[in-house]
Symmetry: C2
Subunit: 390 residues, 2 copies
Amino acid sequence: MVLEPAEIWAYLIGRGSVPATATGTVREVGDGNMNRVFVAVPDDPAIPSVAVKQAPPWIQKLGPSAPMSPERALIEARALRTFAEYAPRQTPAVRDVDETRFAFTMEDLSDLTVLRTALNDGAEIGRTSAEVGELVGRVTFATSVAGADPRVRAALIQESVNPLLAEVTLQYLLGDPFVEAEHNHHHPALEDGVKRLRADPAVRTELAAIRAAFGAKAQALVHGDLHSGSVMVGVRDGEPVVRVIDPEFAMVGPIGLDLGLYVANLVIASVRSRNAAHLASIAECWDAFCAAWREGWPTRVDRLLDDGWLLRELRDVWHDTLGFAAVELVRRVAGYSHASDLETLPDPGPASALVLDLGHKLLVDREICGRRPDPRALAHLVSTSWEARQ
Amino acid sequence: MVLEPAEIWAYLIGRGSVPATATGTVREVGDGNMNRVFVAVPDDPAIPSVAVKQAPPWIQKLGPSAPMSPERALIEARALRTFAEYAPRQTPAVRDVDETRFAFTMEDLSDLTVLRTALNDGAEIGRTSAEVGELVGRVTFATSVAGADPRVRAALIQESVNPLLAEVTLQYLLGDPFVEAEHNHHHPALEDGVKRLRADPAVRTELAAIRAAFGAKAQALVHGDLHSGSVMVGVRDGEPVVRVIDPEFAMVGPIGLDLGLYVANLVIASVRSRNAAHLASIAECWDAFCAAWREGWPTRVDRLLDDGWLLRELRDVWHDTLGFAAVELVRRVAGYSHASDLETLPDPGPASALVLDLGHKLLVDREICGRRPDPRALAHLVSTSWEARQ
């Protein structure tokens, strides 16, 4: 059942993904904690290399003692297909889905770099945030009440129900970081800030609102885990390319989840590097998101939705974006899964404390950046916080 | 496939719903437009009579030229089972579900009267609204993010997806009444009011918000069609009984949908009768709804939801309640399906105009009754409108 490197060529030939005479090399690359990923490079340079991703019935990093439904591979492959329909430029091409082995074969991305790593290494953000915003905008518009027929949405909701990974999000993003929990950890410099956060009743109420939005707001198909580790960047044929990967957490949920996670990780990257372009790209992401909605708007299937509603809906998405961004900021310094952006600094203390403080502030008062969607005000808040801590 | 009266006893014996030797009479009663309903009364008075409800693959009233998925019978039976779990007192008992014939056998309710008919005939409302509020409160709490485990909710969302009937609601409640549409009709006295409503951009934006909430707010299992024609009342053994029937529109949706439809029909009944008790019972409904949530609250499965969130959530439900109530008020005088409460008045004109005006006012300014949930303020608004029109 579980694929091994020695089997990959026979597997690809058997699935018809490469010609029957193809030979080549295979290397296991892994994609983080959850899955197995193999890259198969044909000896014949005319045949494109591919990646085979398989979800074993456990968390790959932890092994059979940590069971996890392998269905996640099919959820991911289905989401990639939907993403490719509306945002083909930013979505890895899926070539084959194997429902029996919970595996799929896709475009080889091993020439690209994970965005978080690239930014940690001092890369410029370029147009990446605009590409991410466009993907989120196009996919969410097309799967929203505005863009999708109710029957299509009903089928999408049914097939995208993802309770196992929703539990992971509820625990590690929207739960544990805000209470005393086993796997939490934080830098000693954050001791007081973490205590204040966890004791603040306003934090608890806002967290509850965000948990409820996560559980009950079926706005559109979202990626569900769109941080800077889920974005790959690089150059092909002299042009920058961006691919959004790993939508195994995909579900019909609140649009602000994707934007919030991405924006929070831009904030973290900018706190690491003090690179104003990272911060400025928050607005590029938001503007591209809105542009995709406005581009789809004249073709909306629900003709009774009016321009007044669109303005309100975008405002609501911004409000959720700030909420999800705030919890992501907190999780990355006070939860289980920290950000390498901060962890690899010579002294992660001051930067982590700043991120925690921003998360706390934003969470309890999302209007700190004004009442209207204003990504530039958010960037300004962050950059003045750098300065105050210099 | 479609059951006929002559087959009912053999059917009930075959399904094991009555003893093999049972005999009796059958009469077809119908339940409105959609389904076939037969009441089977055994000759042996020791055997309780039952009702058999079947959904033919069309709208019963219109026949095979109006196809409609018979799955609705199974959605209804499943919803009744869930309702019975949390609100057994107000839910008809289901004895048998026949997935092959899209039929189910339930408690005979033919001794009860439809609430709308009873109120039209001058009956007092009694505790009915409190019973309805309790049912909505108990069912929605138990199926909300507060009351239900995420995996249970995921399964409920999957099985309750109800796109065909959602389309009916989107068209006849949340669509047609607000535009020029084929089956709309209204009393000549409403001509100007209907024109003003349909031309009002604020109406369009609020309607859009309500359509989007209907399509994307997966708060809890709702009945979906909870007007006063879906409530039966009567007396058994000297005690008043209330049964909420016909949840074939059930879906995981916004809680305010059920409360709004019910409240709007109380308003309409009160406009007909000028009976202050009908109006006062709006508060009884809301208070019973809130009491059921507060009763469930200490047992909530999501311990990270706090009291501050509960207050906000109830406020949000009230906001939606007013919105759905407003569209229901409009639909009942300017859409396709009018309310007999008004239609059977000697002159439906003035009362219908008042209902339209209330619907328009509430829709564009839900805070006309104050910013906090205040059912007494709503009742006051209605009663002062009676007076102004006297």
